[in-house]
């Protein structure tokens, strides 16, 4: 099957999959009780509850409620977020941008540390530096994120006072416009060094915390790949022709060792996105993760639905892209067979 036909077929199926997912999730959100809970106060009478249910059509049968929700989605209305006290569509882009900014910064930390430590350890196999770097990298994966985050706060926020908490200094944040929602990018677009510095200053602690947790798997993969590559004949050949060990490592072995590591880096990004939920709660990062956690606790069904819909679409599209890219790169793969 031609790639074009395959993409077309997948695109035709895509909406059905999304509708299927949305029906399942919509049904599941109703199992935990009525979505009216987000609007309730402790002392509300049953008449007042009924009034609110009628206002949001929650007194209708579930399929009718789904129809209202689906119609809203098609019209670009994902509902009202009780947690954010605003329409979901108005809040979502900024939250997503905040989360992506943190995830990307964490990925930079994880990749830098992971590849650096992995290379350092692999080139000194079974020597003291190898053992030390392994301890450093593995401890990142072993420590629970919530605990490590608190420790980082105690050290760098409370005692040293080097880094703050939150995403920005409010006055600085308000001093520039935010066309992309990515604070660092917006700061650069505005040409404000103060804002850029503020963005980075706030990013360092959560990104280091989150990135450190993802370092281990990258470092381990890098180390083992490098150890393997260093045993290859082409490395011996390079050494035999008199190339300095430093150059053998940099120009030959490390470059090849990076290939499998890159795959792991892709997987680690998923871990980072998951980790943002905990990191956002502890570091007061106003992203999707914190919003979702609050929404789940407070029963904000509109937000949960929007989040699940978003991740489902993302997952389906990424899957499609991966399949196509894979087929493009490796002609032995036959799509749709």
């Amino acid at each position: 099957m031609q790639i074009r036909d395959y993409i077309l077929r997948r695109l035709i199926v895509l909406p059905f999959l999304i509708v299927g997912v949305s029906i399942i999730v919509f049904g599941l959100t109703r199992i935990g009780g009525s979505p009216v809970a987000i609007y309730l106060s402790h002392e509300m009478s049953s008449e007042e509850v009924a009034e609110i249910e009628a206002r949001f059509h929650l007194d209708e049968p579930v399929p009718v409620q789904y129809a209202y929700w689906a119609r809203g989605v098609l019209q670009g209305d994902l509902g009202w977020s009780g947690v954010a006290a605003a329409p979901v569509t108005a809040v979502f882009p900024n939250k997503l941008a905040a989360t992506m900014e943190l995830a990307v910064a964490s990925a930079v930390v994880a990749v830098s540390l992971g590849i650096g430590l992995g290379t350092y350890a692999g080139a000194r196999r079974n020597k003291l530096p190898d053992h030390i770097t392994r301890i450093i990298s593995i401890s990142g994966a072993a420590m629970p994120l919530f605990w490590f985050a608190i420790v980082m706060l105690i050290v760098f926020w409370v005692y040293l006072g080097w880094f703050p908490i939150g995403r920005s200094t409010p006055e600085v944040f308000a001093s520039i416009s935010h066309p992309t929602g990515l604070y660092t990018v917006d700061a650069l677009l505005a040409g404000s060094f103060t804002a850029f510095r503020d963005a980075i200053w706030h990013l360092v602690l959560p990104a280091l915390t989150l990135g450190y947790g993802a370092t281990a798997i990258i470092a381990r993969m890098m180390r083992s790949s490098l150890v393997e590559e260093l045993q290859e004949e082409y490395v011996d050949a390079a050494r035999a022709k008199g190339l300095a060990e430093r150059l053998v490592l940099r120009r030959h072995a490390r470059r090849n060792a990076l290939m499998p590591t890159v795959t792991v880096i892709g997987l680690s990004f998923g871990f980072l996105l998951q980790g943002t939920i905990v990191a956002e709660i502890i570091f007061r990062w106003p992203g999707l993760g914190r919003w979702m956690a609050d929404s789940v606790l407070r029963g904000d069904r509109a937000t949960i639905m929007a989040y699940v819909l978003f991740t489902s679409v993302l997952f389906l599209v990424v899957n499609l892209v991966v399949d196509v890219v894979y087929a493009y790169l490796d002609r032995r793969v036959v799509l749709g067979s």
Binding site: G32, G33, S34, V36, A37, I38, Y39, L40, S41, H42, E43, M44, S45, S46, E47, E48, E51, I52, R55, G82, V83, A84, A85, V91, K95, V108, S112, G116, I150, L153, W157, V158, Y159, L160, G161, W162, F163, P164, I165, G166, P170, E171, A174, S175, T194, I200, W201, V204, R250, L258, I281, I282, R284, P286, R290, W291, D294, L297, R298, G299
Partner: protein, 569 residues
């Protein structure tokens, strides 16, 4: 990857660290002038952080800033207290009323309350301006109260007005008269000072959607145009709320701008206080262990909150509704011996010493300490008496055969702890009792608690805070009151009519001594015929940086019980 790329990465990382270090050590050029002295000192440094700014860490975000929509006890009330004003306010030192936008507290003696107690006159302050620059007049008062009643949003507290007010009349630009449906000694303390009675700018509302019955006003939900010492400058949802000193305020101006940081977890709030980035934090007794001894931090622990923590008895259990494990009959709590036995069995001291960290006290039924009408001579369930409890359960036929009962509660807070103390207390009796504690998420609890009738035999909650005893008794004890009907109090009181008559009589009794005597009688009566198990009255606990001056707390103000305008650094 090319080696040059690595160098760039290393350089970028180094620059980041340097930038961060520079940022922490240098001043912020966008701060107000006085902030240029800001330095980040390690914990314990005595240099004031963020001069000119009060940073409060709250645990909750408002769902609305509209007085007509805000739910009593909800985060929005905190902000409304600072930005809007009411005709009268609760003063700093205690429950006494002080003039707000009215110039005098009405009394029968000063002629501002009619002899029959049906008409209240408020003389208004002149020269007051709203934050949008318009003048405050009597018309704004009428508009604000009528607006809340007309909108009548279920999540709001419009009933506080509509249950008692017949009409608000504008006499002249600076005089309003309020006609009541019946004489009410509770009117000033219950209605006039309530957040729903805050005065909003008529012009601002009319320019932004006006009044639509049954519908929220989107503008007012996120914007505030009041007369108070602060203006709202920003509400960054999920992050912070910023208040600025209102320069044209008619009264004593505030000292500091305010930033309310929204939703740090309890651990982070404590760390922020230690770091000096937060000046005050939303605290409860469970925080004290973590804060005690912290340099530069003051712990305040005086007085009691006015939100008693109660365990409810359902006297209106629907047939077949209880969890399958429960073995109690639907009329279980109709028997006063069962209610009294439960009250005797509870380990009050354990709850206060443990869960409340010693910051709390026992509470009679159902007037909290600190509220008018509280009678210290009234009997109170404050000592665990297992022998008496066993005797009463035996008399009622539930000992030694026992029973299984479920208690629903929110998870991971004081309410769950109270439920666990109840479980421990009842199960320590030689009666084969099993208490199942169903700790659920807040939203799930609210959903269950909002059912009519409620489908659980027992639950744990606290009362809404009120400034007048009538609000407590009409809501929580009156057989025909809001909860009395839902929970079937009439099925249990030995003499429901007597309870109702006493509560109704106290409401209209304008003589303070006579009114207090009625409340005293009620407290004795409700001890013998309890409708609740009051686990305790939580102490006021707060923690703040010692560099704050003028710090005052009044539990009758919405949580965190602070007026920011009184605080300086």
């Amino acid at each position: 990857m090319r080696s040059s790329t690595w160098r760039w990465a290393a350089l970028l990382l180094a620059l980041t660290m340097v930038a961060a270090a520079c940022n922490s050590a240098t001043t912020d050029t966008t701060q107000p002038a006085e902030n240029t002295e800001t330095t980040n000192t390690p914990t314990g440094g005595d240099e004031v952080k963020n001069p000119g700014l009060l940073v409060h860490a709250a645990d909750d975000e408002p769902s609305t800033l509209d007085p007509a929509q805000v739910e009593p006890g909800e985060g929005g009330e905190t902000v409304i207290l600072q930005v809007y004003e009411r005709l009268l306010e609760i003063g700093s030192g205690g429950p006494d009323l002080v003039p707000g936008l009215a110039t005098e507290v009405p009394t029968v003696d000063n002629g501002l309350i009619s002899a029959d107690g049906m008409t209240y006159t408020f003389k208004l302050r002149e020269g007051v301006k709203f934050h949008d620059g318009t003048d405050f007049t009597a018309s704004d008062v009428k508009y604000s109260w009528d607006r809340a009643m007309e909108m009548d949003l279920p999540e709001g507290a419009a009933g506080v007005l509509s249950d008692i007010v017949t009409e608000v009349r504008v006499v002249d630009d600076f005089t309003v008269e309020v006609e009541l449906q019946k004489a009410s000694a509770a009117f000033l303390n219950t209605t006039v000072v309530a957040m729903v009675s805050s005065i909003v700018s008529e012009d601002a509302v009319e320019a932004n959607g006006g009044i639509v019955a049954g519908e929220q006003n989107d503008f007012m939900q996120g914007n505030m145009v009041g007369t108070g010492p602060y203006t709202l400058t920003a509400w960054n949802r999920g992050e912070n709320i910023q208040l600025e000193i209102y320069d044209d305020y008619w009264g004593t101006p505030a000292f500091l701008d305010v930033r309310i940081e929204i939703g740090p977890t309890p651990d982070v709030r404590v760390l922020g206080l230690r770091a000096g980035d937060f000046d005050t934090i939303e605290a409860d007794p469970s925080f004290i262990g973590e804060i005690e001894g912290a340099e530069g931090v003051t712990i305040f622990g005086e007085g009691l909150t006015v939100e008693p923590i109660h365990i409810g008895f359902n006297l209106n259990i629907p047939e077949g509704a209880l969890p399958a494990e429960d073995t109690i009959p639907t009329n279980f709590f109709h028997d006063p011996r069962v209610r009294r036995a439960s009250n005797h069995a509870f380990d009050y001291q354990g709850f206060i010493d443990g869960a409340l960290g010693g910051f709390g006290d026992f509470n009679p039924h159902y007037i909290p300490q600190g509220i008018f009408g509280y009678d210290p001579a009234a009997p109170v369930y404050g000592t665990q008496d297992l022998a008496k409890a066993e005797e009463l359960f035996t008399e009622a036929g539930y000992c030694p055969d026992g029973f299984v009962v479920s208690v629903i509660t929110e998870e991971a807070n004081l309410f769950e702890t109270a439920a666990l103390v109840l479980k421990d207390s009842l199960e320590s009796l030689p009666c084969n009792i099993e208490v199942r504690v169903l700790a659920v998420a807040e939203a799930q609890f609210d959903d269950a608690h909002a059912q009519d009738p409620i489908e659980y035999a027992m639950w744990v909650k606290n009362a809404d805070p009120f400034a007048d005893p009538h609000s407590y008794l009409s809501s929580y004890q009156h057989p025909d009151g809001e909860w009395g009907v839902i929970h079937g109090f009439a099925n249990g009181y030995a003499d429901p009519q007597k309870v109702a008559d006493l509560i109704d009589a106290a409401e209209v009794e304008l003589d303070a001594d006579a009114r207090a005597a009625i409340y005293s009688e009620l407290q004795f009566l409700l001890y013998d015929d309890p409708m609740w198990l009051i686990a305790g009255q939580e102490g006021v606990v707060a923690a703040y940086r010692s560099w704050l001056k003028g710090w005052e707390s009044n539990p009758l103000w919405p949580r965190p019980s602070l007026k920011f305008a009184l605080i300086d650094k």
